[in-house]
Amino acid sequence: MSEQETMNEIKTVSAQETVTEPEAVSTQNTSAEPEKGNETERILKFQIFRYNPRKKGDKPRMVTYEITEAPGMTIFIALNEIREQQDPSIQFDFVCRAGICGSCAMVVNGSPTLACRTLTSKFPDGEIKLLPLPGFELIGDLSVNTGKFMRAMSERVESWIHDQDADKVNYDKLEERMDPDVAEQIYELERCVECGCCVSACATKRMRPDFLSAVGFIRLARYALDPRDKRSDEEFYEILGDDDGVFGCMTLLGCEDYCPKDLPHQTQIAYLRRKMLKVK
């Protein structure tokens, strides 16, 4: 419980600072040109989900932290500042901090997204609520085990080129040619970073725990498109053709709405369905 008390202390200290700040803002706004208004400091209020399942007696709760916003501040920068200056126990995952690796997806004010590239200036009232991504095993606080889920997904869809001759290729010789457009189309689908936003935004996944989800569909669509993968439609059907596969999708398209890479989930799900209907 001593930890809880410390939290309250932090909260009180930051709250005092907020009292003096707004006045400073208003005086500056009247004297300086309008753009300068963006540069005045404000206090951000982070409400963060805290729970460490490994700590005896710990209970899930929301804890508020207040910090002074800096120009260009992202949630990555803010969370690190909170960890370094206020609470070193807080857990979260960042790796590339550039929107490339997919480590840091979390629910920001109700929407699953990549925290590293979310600027705090996006939130006009300065209130930011952070929850861990639902649909994944919780490690602690904002950290979830997407890695375990994604490896299982890759094994389930057999996320690799199926070609019995692939290991017999003589690499001294010219590579197999590919149509430049096809290469570009494959890359388009390969841009998925396995962040898990689509899984957490999926209502079907909520109802069907084994639902493959958009991340699995887009992966399969990528291989279905790839001439190097020799799998037949029937073989894809084996993976996809049931209610935990592409026919279970209720087409609510949370995946399409929340994909940080703007991948064409809707089109690909439709493509896979049409492709699967042709089987038998």
């Binding site: 460490n52 490994r54 700590k55 120009p71 260009g72 992202t74 960890r83 609470d87 070193p88 126990s89 807080i90 857990q91 995952d93 960042f94 790796v95 590339c96 901090r97 550039a98 929107g99 490339i100 690796c101 997919g102 480590s103 590239r117 600027l119 490690i139 602690g140 950290s143 997407t146 890695g147 994604m150 490896r151 890759s154 996320s159 690799w160 080129i161 692939a166 290729v169 003589n170 690499y171 001294d172 010789k173 010219l174 590579e175 197999e176 040619r177 590919m178 149509d179 430049p180 290469a183 570009e184 494959i186 890359y187 390969e190 841009r191 970073v193 396995e194 790839d226 190097r228 993968d229």
Partner: protein
Amino acid sequence: MKVIYTDSLVIGGGLAGLRVAIASMQRGYDTIVLSLIPAKRSHSAAAQGGMQASLGACIKGEGDDEDVHFSDTVKGSDWGCDQDVARMFVNTSPKAIRQLSAWGVPWSRVRKGDREVVINGEKVTITEKDEAHGLITSRDFGGTKKWRTCFTSDGTGHTMLYAMDNKAIQMGIPVHERKEAVALIHEDGVCYGAVVRDLITGELIAYVAKTTTIATGGYGRLYSVSTNAVISEGIGNAIALETGIATLGNMEAVQFHPTAIVPVGILTTEGCRGDGGLLLDKDGYRFMPDYEPDKKELASRDVVARRMTEHMRKGKGVPSRYGDHLWLDITLLGRKHIEKNLREVKEICEYFLGIDPVNEYIPVRPTQHYSMGGIRTKATGESPTLKGLFSVGEAACWDMHGFNRLGGNSVAETVVAGMIVGEFVADYCAANPLNVSTSTIEHFIKLEEEKISTLLLREYGENPFELKAQMQKIMMDKVGIFRNGEDLTQAVEQLKILNQRARKIALRNRISSSNPELVEAIRVPKMIKLAQCVAYGALLRTESRGAHAREDYPQRNDRDWLKRTLTTWKDESSDLPEVFYEDLDVMKMEMPPGSRGYGVDNTIHHPDTEKRIKEIEEIKAAHPEADRYEMHDLLNPTPIPEKFKGKNERIGRGFK
């Protein structure tokens, strides 16, 4: 005590580590990969622009081959590289890229016919040959004679890593995620695995293996601003250093990339300039041609980074609240090109800067980017001093980069070195039984247990986050792009004090399981030691070579410094590493030291250089009939594994 046995233990799940794991698994050895994070999130994924391989399929790559790639790489390294390794690398790179193509990387392809490109600020039409249609294409990069950098848009590292990890999954290679190696286990000069901390449960596990391969990437995060991922903290290098037996090579060789965005330091690929982007100053003036009339924006990275800094020092930088910066202008490439080939750059600009690079300039500044230094290895990837310890990729000083790495040569190194070293790892597994006493394993586990319980019990002491920030600031301010004796002396002294303070870290959150503060407390003393290796090595090297630029010693000095820095830390209680050197043998060089062709050549030459040039001329004159392959063997035969000895085919040229 939990002990896990395997044949081939690989620490690090990026491109290099996975490729070694695949090689040892293919040869039938039990293999485990340890990773801090899910393998597909490794920093390899952040490589944007491409991989160098001399396929020569696109029209601007015509005439390219291993020899041209070799010459670019050696020049780029400022003659600091190991030429045997560079030769093995250039010969194997075309095979590596073709293998990755078979494993699923959707490399961008040659499209026959006319296309418009931007060269030297001008729109030019080039015509691709019909017969090259559908082969892997390439783009221009800095410091290269030909367009050699193969790519998938600007997500090359991502597609390579996905293909590699998918291959590893197909082969059933286990990746133990969220595991951190905190010490190596060794006995009588042989390495037998690592003590590993589970980052979720906090449990210490001994992974005992015949071979241990460190593939943990670079040490960019010794600096407060770096393009590197936050996990690139050099811990793999540090645990090798802490054995007191393994050596680190050329730690002072640190690369600064010309174009990271200001202030956060996220990279925009060299492909921006390769595809025709320009660097402009506060007046919108294109300044690079004034400094480097020949290569301009596409001079080697160290050169461009220094020229940018010089130009800003003349007052030509764009002032901002984060200090001066310059502009990267890619607007001339047009929306279509940017949205297809530079889309990650576009996304980064939109999200982090709130600008659209199709219409607006990108604020950039040279920023720490790559660690040429690392665990010193032989050409086989094995430590010359600690048997059974291998290292590969950015973590290693295999030494194909010397003092400056070319853009596109790093992802290439990961997969090529992974292929080559992977074979030597498997050879070692075949030749050596696992023979280590359990008391040794227990001893190493106990040591780490004691360290952690001391940390958890100490009531008062230093804050690890503060120590790290202070170290990063020292490295930024005093061990940067331009260096001098005074700053470096201060850095060395200040880091010594941090080293002492880091022995008294205390925690606020004293639990042994999942605990970010404890992770920091374990890492920070290791990072400070590495920072000391970098700073001390930089202070002692009184010359300028590649990325190591001394204002007080501006000349490249082959006479006294054509050698590799080696660093060890034998005595745990000492507050400085031991530094010594190994000579590079000019008389064995296929390409003796010469000028890189930038600025004024003020090199102090090695006495052997002239001798070797003459010798090469004589060898060439004596063998007028020798083709280029026979000539390598005459000049400097290199030990390429049998598997990769074949000649590489090119369009319009066959195997010649």
